[in-house]
Subunit: 150 residues, 2 copies
DNA sequence: TATTGTTATACTCTATAACTATA
DNA sequence: TATAGTTATAGAGTATAACAATA
């Protein structure tokens, strides 16, 4: 049986591969991971004030300015005024941004199918159970520094 | 039973949490993820030419110059000459770099214990089986763009 | 001629601090 | 006085291209 430590290494390898897969796919649409993340929020929740985006992304307002600048330049989003509060800038998807989001959603489905499609229900269920265990452990144990070599 | 798509979302959430956990832990040692990755290679394989590091990290030689500059400034590594080839710069761990690596290794163990420690052998084995399945799928299916919202 | 590492330049993500416009 | 977003400044990671030293 695999060592706990080896299993962690394998899990970290998965993290690296997933990250590379996403980054590469996004690059084809002229997107980066942080920009796609912002796009995704608009896709899910509709137009939003930059401040809200900063909170949701857990990033500084300044940073959102930069991300939105990039997405405006690439034609994925547009800035507009808020109806009642003139301090606020509302960010919304353009048509290109909407189709890129839809494409992301499809890619997501495809990836799920690739990863889990040929898995038996039995194995899938067991895997999800382990995943849940690991996730709850991780959410609880945020205190100590669990450093890893990636 | 959980949907395939939901399982993927949960897996991606795990990726985010693991990344955050690592990044935070490394920051306490004055390290970043890319620098720690470089350190880890030295820890595993001993002193190396920058060119080798660039290949291993899949990054440009120029980038390695920058990473090593930072690690030299923080006292984790030192540059030295190659014995026979005077073009080459050998990078090796300082004492601080070695102890930081050892600390990373301990953190790795702790994390493995946190994530899997209280898991039954049965569930652990099932999880690893699923992990292996997902990993091999991902390694094979590198062609298409599997874009995701992080 | 080929290889190693550097300087030069540029882009992205990130942060804090100071400032403007509005509330 | 407080909030939204900007400009100013800075650091880190990344890339390509041109160049120097060495092989």
């Amino acid at each position: 049986m695999l060592d706990r430590r080896e299993a962690l290494d394998r899990l970290l390898e998965l993290v690296v591969l997933l990250d590379a897969d996403m980054t590469e796919g996004l690059a084809r649409e002229g997107l980066t991971v942080p920009r796609a993340h912002l796009l995704w929020l608009l896709h899910q929740n509709g137009p939003a004030a930059q401040r809200r985006l900063a909170d949701a992304l857990k990033v500084s307002p300044r940073n959102v300015t930069g991300l939105v600048d990039g997405l405006v330049a690439s034609g994925h989003v547009a800035r507009g005024p808020h109806q009642t509060d003139r301090r606020v800038t509302l960010v919304s998807l353009t048509e290109r941004g909407a189709s890129a989001s839809a494409e992301m959603s499809r890619g997501h489905e495809e990836l799920a199918e690739l990863l889990f499609g040929e898995m038996t229900d039995r194995r899938f269920t067991a895997f999800v159970a382990g995943l849940n265990h690991v996730l709850s452990r991780l959410r609880e144990g945020l205190q100590p520094a669990h450093v890893g070599g990636r």
